[in-house]
Every structure is written in C-alpha cells, then in structure tokens.
Symmetry: C2
C-alpha cells in the first residue's frame, strides 16, 4: 500500500456563482468523488469570467497541487473563456482541434456549425480531450489541469471519464461518530488530548443545529484501518465517560 | 447614486468541506445576500484547518477586496483555529476578551466554563465582536475581515448583525430571460455582438440540462435600470428573430 498523498484543487469559473444566482454543487461533488478514489482536495476557489483571474488561479493552483479540476466556461457563448485562460496560463497556443470538431459534428449538422459552436472545438495545444457522452463538446486535460463543463450532469460524466487515468494515493478511511447529544464544550478538552495522543488520526468535531439544539458529530480520518479502529474505541470510551458524568 | 463598487471575498475554513463530507452552503448564501445589498463577491476560497493556509488566504484576500467574510473554525474544539490564524494574519495578539466571556456566561454556567469553552472567548486584539443571537459565542470583525461561525443558521444571524455596518456600493440590477428553448449555439454569435455593443451591461448565458434537454437562460446585469431595460428589449428582439428563423 502506497503512503503517497495525491493532492487536488478545484477551480470553479463563473460569474453566476459569485453573484449568488447559481449555487455551486460541482466543487462538493468533485471533492467527495476524489476522496472516494484516494485523492485529497486541499483547496477550492471560485473566480469570475475574467481572463486574468482564470490565468492567475490556474497557475497558483497547478504549481501547488498534483491535479487541478476546473468547471465552467467551455460553452459557445462570449463569456466562455476558460480554454483561452488555461492556454495562456500554460503559455501555449490555442486553435480549432480536428478531434473536437469531429465530436461536435456527431451532434450538430454541418450547416448549423456556426462560429459560436466552433468555439467549443478550440483546445489548447498539446491537450488531451475529455469525453462528454451527453452533449459531445469535449473538456480537455493539459499538464495537471483537467477542464470540465459547468453543467453538473456533464461535469460528472467528464469526471467519470478522467477518473481511471488519475494517479491515486492511499484512500483515507473515515468514521463518523454521534456525540450522544453532548455539547462540543463538554468534550472538546478530552478530544483535544486524544487528537494530540493520536497523530496518525485526524479528528474533527462538527456542530450541527437541528430544531435549535446542537447535534454534534465527531469525524475520525486515517490511512490505516487499525489505527482508525483504535481511535474510534478511545473516542467512544471518552464520550461514554463524559456522558455518565453529565447525567450525574 | 454612487458609482462605487464595493467588493468582497468569502473564505470558507474547514477540512469537512474539502473532504466532501459537508456541502458548503454558506458561500452561496453570503454571495447572494451581499449582492442584494450592493456588494460584489469577486472570489470564494475554501481552505483546510491549517494555520498557515488560513493566514495566507486571509492576507491574499484582505489586500485585494474591500471585505473578507470567513466562515468556520471558531468553536471550542482543537480544530477551531480561525481566530489564531486571523490574529497572525494581522500580526496582532490574541487573548481572552472580557466582552466575549460575558456573552458565553449568558448561556454557560460558570462551573461549566472549562478550558475548551473559554477558547471561544479568544479574540484578536482590536477586533469588534459580531453578535450571535443563537448560541452567544461571538464572531468578530478586524480591519476588513469579518469572522463568522460555520453552522449555517448562526452564520446567517451574524451576517444580519454585520450588514447594517457595511459600506455599500451601487446595487447591480439583473433580469433573467428564458432563451425560448433555443440551444446556446443558435444565439451565441448574436449575443456576443450584443454584449460588445452594450458595454454597460454584463450578459451571461447559462445552460441548464433538464430531462436531457437544454433549457437555457440569459442573464443581463447592469447598474442602470434604463440601460438594463434597453438591453432586455434588444435581447428579446434577437431571440424572437432567431426563433422565427429556427422554425422556418
């Protein structure tokens, strides 16, 4: 079993997210999907449809993480400028890609292939295509950057296409424990001591408000199943002890 | 009417978002709320519970935007390190704040005020408190950075507390038009020409997939109501023309 961590960042591109018009569900989907296959998402950013912002974010993220997954901005309209931004970030040219054009022609009649639709065949030099089984217009993969559509169903299909080709780290295992209705403040000191004593396990406490009452969960994450099991046992023991004292 | 833009960034702090365990709804809520009161969200970032990541993101964002709104990491557990990160970003000290302590004691009996709970009263030097009407433990405001809880109901209440004190820019007006079932590629060239001819109006096209068919919307945004009305009229005229040709 490899001990290597494979890291990722998600870059969401689109004014509609920043204006609050559209709620971004893509970044959450990607982070969850990647965690399942052993990649660790370390950062998410949302930037507007502004070329220099896209260029700066792509370059900041691709130099720090093993993979960058972008969503949005690869359609046929004037505000779809992701491909140009990514080409600029890599300092490569961009032009109509015959493979991408052939894919578009699977769905679009030749007489309907206007200038706007041809934009969707513009791919940075040296990029590989990412399949779009839903509406054909492909995403692409250049260096460690994977460029996907913003429409959730299409993005999800593209992620499926890409997944088998990704390097994978060791999958992080996790268990979620119910905090028995205890308030965080009742177990935080003990949990902190546990976290210090168990450096191979990452321990988080997540308060949730339900009908005005806290319903907290403790999440334990580790690479090693035995270390995780031992930490779960210790945490449950700690919670039982504090519950007993609380009900005295 | 002021022409000034007031810009904002949202910084979400929490491993649980990056692991895909919890879906972030806070950033979308904040972006939408700010847009309603005339602030323009220009960037959203999600970073893990790692001090140097928090410090770097706070400093990157506070130097670029008028306001930074953070969520998450101000509870009593060991993974709640936002206050320390923000103090470090500003290069100021952090200590137990008597005002914050008094608020905690409104809800917590003195004998239950353990070390972990006291952590929630640690506030960077020079910060103002942000009220938490739900569970008392306050957020805070230092420089142009507003630090709020991660629990959505509490974050939303904190945002309400802060809103009246924010500088406001001119509110951006917007209209959403239905693209009459036309595919993006059919109107993208015409829309691009419109966008170029109307520099005071920001025009976006948003594809949506519903039952396997695209159901697109065109969103027009402008500061001036008359400019917006004129752009809406021109866009509808353009759509009508293309629809007529499409049904020939």
């Amino acid at each position: 079993m490899s001990e290597k961590q494979v890291t990722a960042a998600v870059l969401v591109i689109g004014d509609e997210i920043l204006s609050g018009r559209t709620r971004d569900t893509n970044s959450g989907h990607i982070a969850h999907y990647l965690a399942q296959i052993g990649l660790e998402t370390r950062e998410i950013r949302v930037v507007p449809d502004v070329e220099e912002e896209i260029v700066a974010a792509v370059n900041a993220l691709r130099s720090r993480y093993d993979y960058v997954f972008t969503t949005g901005g690869i359609g046929p309209t004037h505000d779809d400028i992701t491909a140009d931004g990514v080409a600029k970030a890599f300092g490569v040219g961009i032009s109509e890609d015959p493979r991408a054009l052939a894919l578009l022609l699977e769905r679009i009649a030749p007489q309907d292939l206007n200038e706007a639709r041809r934009r969707m065949a513009r791919i940075p030099d040296g990029a590989e295509l990412v399949a779009n089984p839903i509406s054909r217009a492909p995403g692409f993969w250049i260096g460690n950057v994977i460029v996907m559509a913003g429409v959730p169903a299409i993005m999800q299909a593209m992620l499926e296409d890409v997944a088998p080709k990704l390097a994978r780290g060791v999958k992080i295992l996790s268990e979620t424990l119910d905090a028995h209705g205890l308030p965080e403040g009742a177990y935080a000191d003990a949990l902190s001591a546990l976290a210090k004593a168990l450096p191979d396990v990452s321990i988080g406490s997540y308060p949730q408000l339900s009908d005005g009452r806290f319903k907290n969960q403790i999440v334990l994450r580790a690479k090693d199943a035995r270390a995780l099991a031992a930490a779960v046992a210790k945490t449950l023991e700690m919670l039982a002890e504090i519950s007993a004292r609380h009900s005295l």
